[in-house]
Each structure stands twice: as C-alpha cells, then as structure tokens.
Point group: C2
Chain length 525, copies 2
C-alpha cells in the first residue's frame, strides 16, 4: 500500500492540520515522503471519545474474541510483508535482519498476550463464599475479578520501531487487559507506524470490534502528547523514552483532577560487576561479550551496559585493554535520528572532557552522517561517588569502567547507584560470597539481575521484569515486557452478594472460564 | 501499664521536643493525660534510619518467622486487656462493644496476614526454564519473585483507633510484605496508639527481629507527616483520612527526587441505588436498613451511605418518609473529636442552607458536647448534576436522597459520580435489567458493588476491595482491606541465569516454600 501521511482515528484516516513531521533516513540524511500533518486537541478529543465509547464493549469481549484480535493483529502485520521492514530500515538506519527479528518479536509478543488472555490468570478471580451461620455476624458472598482501567495512551519509542512502538508491548498488554489504545506515534518512524496502525485497523474491522479500540496520532512537539495524557477519558499511560519526556508526562498525569498512573520506562546505565575470579578466569572472553552487547543496535537499547565496575588489578587492566581493542575495531553503526546522534556526540564529548575520566578507546568513525563512534572510558570509584555527571546515561555505544580499590568500594558503588533496569554479575564459583554480599543491594536497585550474561536482549516471557526503581521507571511495581505487563492496566472490583443474573460471567459458580481461582484463600484449578 | 507519653523508636521510648498533643474525651470534653510531646525531623530520621537498617534482614526472614511475628503482635495486643479498650473508649467516644469488636477485627486481620504470608501467593513465583536448543537464539533460565518495597510510612486514621491505626490493615499488610513500618499516630488517640505500639515493640523483641522493624511517632500539625513521606528511606505510604490530607501527601511523595507510591484512602459518599421493584416490595425494610447503616459509628465510616438515588414515585416518597421517621428517632452519638464534630456541623449547615436541598429530618441532639445529630435531606437529580456542592462528603450520619425523573436520569447520576469505595443496589428480580444497565458504570466508579446489603461493615477476607477510583483512593489498582492489600508493598525482581547458590530460596528448583508457581506460564501447585 501507499503511505497516506494520515492520522488513524478509529476506522478513519484523517489529515491533520498542524505542523508537519516527516522521517529522515539517518543513513543518508534524505527526507522520506510522505509528510504527516500533526493532529491537535480536536483529533485527541475525537480519538479519546471513540476509545471511551468502545471501552465498555471491548472490556467485556470474551477471552477468545480478545485473544483472536491480538493474533489477527500479528497476522495483519506479517501480511504487510517486506514493505514494513524496508520502511523500517529506511526510517531507522537499523539493518534489515534486525527489523525482521523485531517483527518476529512483536508478533510473538502479541501471540503471547493472546495466550495470557486465554489463560485468564490476570482476572485474579477470588471467591469468599457466604457464611450465613458465622458468629457474631454472618458473612455474605464476596467475589473479586480484575477489570480494565480504561482507554490507555501509548507513546511509541524511537529505538524499537516495532517492538516498543505502535503494536509494541504497551499496546499489546493494554489491549489484552481490555483497554482501548490511543497511540502517539514516534516522529522518527511515522511510515512504519502508519503501516502497523493500518494493520491494527484491519484487525479491528475483521474482528468486528468497535472503531475506537485503536487510534494513531502524530504531531510535532509535545502538545499532542500532553493533551493526550490530560484527556479525561485516558486512564493510564505507557511510555518508553527519555527521563525528561517521562517526567513531563508524570507531571501532567499527576496534575489532572483525577491523577492517573504513568508507566514510563526512562533511563538506565545497567551496571555490570566484574567479580575477581571471573575476571581472572576469562577476562578476555568477558571483554568480548561486553563489547558485543555494548555495540548491539549502536548501543541504543534501554539495557545497554553503560557501566562496568571492577576491582583495580592486573586482570582488570587486561580486561580494559582487551575491551579497548575491541572498541577500536568496532564499526560506526548509523544511529536512529540526527537528534539522537547529536545527543550522543554531546554526551561523549562531556565525558571525554572531564579531567577525572580517561579515554581508553574510540571506535571507527565510518561513512554514515549519523554514525555512532563507540567509546570506552575509565574513572575511579571515588570520582564516580562524588561526581554525578559520571552516572548520566550516554544513549549509544559508550561505556565507563569504574575502578574500585576493593570489594567494599564496589559495594559502595552499588549502593550509590540510581534505580536501574538491570544489574549484571560476571562471576565464577569463587565469587559466590562476593555476589551474595552484593545481591541485596542489587535487588533494591534493579528490576532484573543477571549472572554471566548481558543485559541486552530482553526475553518476552512470564518471568521477565523490564522495570526497576526510579528513574529506570516511574513505577517499580511493574514490568513493561513480559506477560506480567498486563497487570498495569487492571484494577480489582469486588462483588458482594450479587444475584447470579447480575454477576459477571467470569465469577459465576461453575467457573465458566475454567480459570485458576482463590477460594477462601486457597488456590483451586 | 502506665502510659508514658512517649514516641517509640525501635525498642526505645523517647520524649519529643516539639509542641504537645493530648487526647480529649469527646463525650465529656475532658483532656486525657499524658501529654505527648511531638517529634521532629530528628526522630523521623532516626526511625527511618533504623527501618532502613532493619530492612534487608527483615525482608528475608522466613515465611514462618514473619507469620509468627504477626501472630505475636495479635497476642500482645490481646494481652493488654481492658486497659486498651477502656482507653479507646475514652479517646474516641465509641462504645466499649465497638472497641472490643474492633480489637477482634484487628487481631483477626493480623492472623489473616500471617496465613497469607505462609501461603506465599504474594511471592508470585514464576519460572521460565532455559531452552538451550531454541532457534534462532537460546533462552536462558529466568525466574521471578516479589520483594518488599522498603520501609513504609503509615498514618493512623481517626475513625478506627485499632483497625485502621497503629496495628491496622496498612501496618499488617506492610509487615507481611517484609517492609519495616514507621507509624505517624493519630493525634486523637495517642494513648490507644502507645498501648498498641508497645505491644508491637514487645512482639519485635520476642521474635528477635531488628529494632527498626517498627516505630511510632507523634506530632501536632503536618510537619512530621510531611517529613516522614519526604524521608529518602521511606518507599511507600499508607494513609486513611481526608482528601485534603491525602492529596497533600501525594504532592510530597510526587515531588521527591524518587517519587514513591501513596495509598491514600480518602473520601467516598457511597451511593445507594433504590431500584423500583425493590422499593415497591420492601421500601420500609430498606429504609430501616439504610438508617441503621447511616447511624453506625455516628456515620464516621469511609463506607457510610451518604447518597441515596431513586426514581420519583409514591414508593420513593414513602421510603423518604419512613427513613425520615427513623432519623428523627435516632440518638446523637458522640463523634470522635471536637474537630470532626465541627466539620460535621458545618457540612450539615451548608447542605441545609442550600435552596435546592430540602431538609426531611434531623435526629436527636442528645447531651454529648460532640453529639452527631443525624440528618436526612432531599434534592433533585437535575440539581445534583449541576451543583457540585451536593456531591461533597459530609463525614457523619447525614445523607442526601436524590430524586430522578426516570431511569435515564438515574443512569446520568451514576455517570456523574466521582470515584467511590462502594456502590449499592437495592434490587429485586424485576430490577435485573435496570441493574445490568447500571453495572458497567458502577464498576468504573467503585471498588466494591453490593446488592441488597449496606456498605458499612467491610469484611476482612481475600475477595474484598476497599479501594476505588480517585478521589475514593489515590490508586484504584489496590485495596487497603483484605489479603490483596499486601500487593501494595511489593515489586517484582527477575533473576536471569543465576547459579543455584545465589538464587533466593523461594526460587530454588525444588520449590522449598511449596508455593503455587507459574512455570512457562502454566500454574503448578
């Protein structure tokens, strides 16, 4: 299909009336047609009113209907074919194979949530039967299920044009929960967004769902996003992006007459702790794995390992040398947007200009106008503890190695960290005691703790936590990847003494959905 | 024991250095010794530092140790004997039987959470085993558990000196989750608070737990509470009280460098919908039940039925007459504090002075200096829809009846309501269709929906939701009563590829806690 440059409001394609946005191919600097005129409060209101109108119907669709809808979205995305990955490549500078892999991940994620909807665990069904003979007072029948919060605003992220964008994890989990979704598409990949948005539109129509279950808006600047979060019909927000962007949305959500939850996944430098025995046994191999993870996607991952912590030693020196050599040989991959490239250059320059930071290596510069020249730097733990500049995220393939005097200082570094998405331990059997001492601190700092792996590559599964204490996210009680992401968009409702004819189907005596329940606090099924 | 007028910081009893507070017997107006000198930031810091120091140990205590601790608190509270209920009566004006019942509820709640801790559902254990052969990429072993958020600040409520105070639901659920607790005791019942606080102190010592697991602070004004919420060691807040108080704490929590969740249960007028067939069949009986619920505890319940909605008819007139007669005959029960009594008088006067509100009945005035003279008023639906004064909570035994022209107008009233803790339907079989039409709206407005009962009397069980959309609470995704309250104080952590020697015990292969788990998304055990 030909891209139209449209906003998608329910089943309609609408041309905006505000300033245009358009994609730039970061590999060439060329502007990509079509232009997308931005929406304003009129389109925000219309999309949100449609979402509101769709909500009560959509949230009560059968588990099977909703699961089929998610699967149909996946099928429609796949049916777009190469046009989708080609446009994705052009808009992001990412390689074709990456776009293909990301499409697989996105569609797999939609299918995972289809299975989650069918399993029905998210309903958290509870039943405390009546006890009419209880003394001193009888107990009436009490049942609980979870229902959808309401229409959800989702902000597409720049760095995953499919998996964290229009049909990404936030959209999939919100739709799974029974929430209509209004997406603010990321301005860097509007064409990819339109293609995916139209696939969702088709799935809505094929599944006979109300129009308002899905809309897609574009707009330059922050106005449209702020208007979306402020709209009274919106009841929750999913966001992946910068700390500045996330905290601005949090402020708007908090200032509403009825504050709403914001699930913002923001910034993380993903510390990697090199424990001594592991470093001794396989420092070179760790250096290789580290630089591979650092360079993945030009370092433009939320889980990019931006901080490496080791104890000063000949082995750490050898690790730094080996990692530096690998960085020197690393190609400059094209970054997602000119803006992200500028921010990266500024971040690296700031780091390089600091007297307490030593440059170990820079990678290749390459030919791309927006190539990411990798970087590796070293600083002392004492400087890291006193200079908060050193804890700032540099979004891209640059990392800082922190040299500690001893394990106590390593512990202090761990305690000093802000909230993180991940913390990684490189450890051998002989490091077990050191790892045990770090673990309680790491648990309080990060949502996911890894041993002998790398934080990039977030598995979409049931046990995943892609979350963590502030500022990694705005709500450490949640995850934005994996099946538990659905819980962000649900709330419990208790039904007391309702006649069977009024009780929601899920809560009927015969458990028609055949879902695991807590009966008098004991699990059944 | 003799009351000391102390702050309790860990195992210490400390005398504050700020302005004094003291209880007033609201039945007599007499001041009750001792005076409690308030704490300031020094005591806040000390209590929070102790809580922080206790946290990592306390959160990893065995399920059995933590359950026994909760049970020991219950035993120690019971061991205080009549001194506790007598002091409670003197400080609140509530009858002895109510205090005894509330003590039973409080201790039952502690024992319920002991059973919840032992059952371990709250750990939400998940395991996605490694798939080393998977193509194109292998999957590593991923496990998830929930851990405690950190030290929790709890604010005692005025209206339940035991069940929503020092050892109330917030404290019990936070301790169950593994969070140390710092309580800001309510200034209206410091003696009751001290007795309970010392019972908890003794339980901490008997169970060999670190001192900082529990502290109790007092202070006049808002400073100490604000300092507590702002303290960097505090990671969540439980509060039951006014909308003004709750939103002030929310603002402080949101303005922190690391915003933290606030679980504030604030205001609710608990609408009761009188459906036509029920009104025809048993209007008198409904009137009787309604006034009984209205008068319970002088109407000082969060779930007090402050709003009754019916369709204008002879049957509704008869209901209003019957309810008015019952209100006229209602005694004036002593209110909790002079301040609450003043606010009630002002609220009733404002309502009575409005030209669009008709006074139906006032109850007895009685002899108490702070007696609650019940009240019943009527207004039209059209006035309710346009005058937001009519939706304000009057804390006490006063209710407003709304007369609707027809069921459409009743529906509009439902849609117009703010978030509520409860919504009640009085209905007969012939009302089923009307009830079905109201239900989706009520689900979006309230945390608990009742049929043919009254909202006062919140059962402490597994299916209970004592929560609801803003402004009923600050977080509609949660409940502050019932076993699910524990989830407020937990967050998920994922462990990727950890060696068995480093994995938390709960996540070991052999499931040593014998807890239900999600394995590859399927429930086991």
């Amino acid at each position: 299909m030909t891209l139209q440059g449209s906003l998608l409001i329910g089943q309609q394609a609408v041309t905006g009336s505000e300033a245009e946005i358009y994609a730039i191919n970061p590999a060439t600097g060329e502007a990509l047609a079509p232009n997308y005129r931005g929406g304003n409060h009129v389109e925000v209101d219309k999309a949100c009113q449609l979402a509101e109108a769709a909500f009560d119907h959509y949230r009560e669709t059968s588990l099977e209907t909703r699961a089929r809808f998610l699967e149909t979205i996946a099928e429609e995305i796949e049916a777009v074919g190469e046009a989708l990955t080609e446009r994705g490549v052009a808009e992001t500078g990412l390689p074709q194979a990456r776009l293909e892999g990301e499409r697989g991940r996105t569609c797999g994620q939609l299918r995972l949530f289809a299975s989650v909807v069918r399993a029905g665990e998210w309903l958290d069904l509870r039943h405390d039967p009546a006890m009419p003979e209880r003394q001193p007072l009888p107990r009436t029948d009490l049942r609980q299920r979870h229902i959808a919060l309401g229409p959800v605003a989702v902000f597409g992220a720049s760095n995953f044009p499919l998996a964290f964008s229009v049909a990404g994890g936030d959209t999939a989990s919100a739709l799974a929960a029974g929430c209509p979704v209004v997406v603010k598409g990321h301005s860097a990949h509007p064409g990819t967004s339109e293609l995916v948005g139209r696939a969702i539109q088709r799935a809505v129509a094929k599944c006979d769902l109300p129009d308002g279950v899905f809309s897609l808006l574009f707009g330059s600047g922050n106005e449209i996003g702020q208007a979306l979060v402020a709209n009274p019909h919106i009841k929750a927000v999913g966001f992946t992006g910068s700390r500045r962007g996330g905290t601005a949305l949090m402020a708007t959500a908090h200032a509403r007459p009825d504050p709403i939850p914001v699930y913002a996944e923001m910034s993380s430098i993903n510390p990697v702790f090199l424990l001594p025995e592991a470093l001794k046994a396989r420092g070179d191999k760790i250096a290789e794995g580290f630089v591979g993870s650092l360079n993945m996607g030009a370092g433009q991952f939320c889980t990019n390992p931006g901080l490496v912590i080791g104890i000063k030693s000949a082995e750490l020196d050898a690790f730094v040398t080996a990692a530096g050599e690998a960085v020197k040989g690393s190609a400059a991959q094209t970054m997602l947007t000119p803006g992200i490239h500028d921010a990266y250059q500024n971040g690296v320059s700031t780091l390089a200009s600091k007297s307490n930071v030593k440059e170990i290596a820079r990678g290749q510069t390459g030919d791309s106008p927006h190539g990411c020249q990798p970087g590796l730097f070293v600083a002392s733990a004492s400087d890291f503890l006193t200079d908060e500049d050193l804890q700032s995220e540099v979004f891209g393939a640059t990392a800082l190695v922190i040299e500690c005097r001893d394990s106590d200082e390593m512990q202090r570094i761990a305690e000093h960290l802000e909230g993180q998405l991940t913390a990684t331990l490189q450890m051998d059997d002989g490091d077990l005691e050191s790892a045990r001492q770090l673990l309680p601190t790491l648990e309080r700092k990060a949502g996911r703790i890894l041993a002998n792996g790398w934080p990039t590559g977030v598995e979409v599964c049931h046990a995943m936590v892609h979350g963590g204490p502030y500022p990694a996210t705005s709500d450490s009680r949640t995850t934005s990847v994996g099946s538990a992401a659905i819980y962000r968009f649900l709330r419990p409702v208790c039904y007391q003494n309702l006649p069977a004819g009024l009780l929601p189907e899920a809560l009927q005596d015969n458990n028609p959905f055949n879902v695991s329940r807590l009966v008098d606090g004991k699990r059944e099924g």
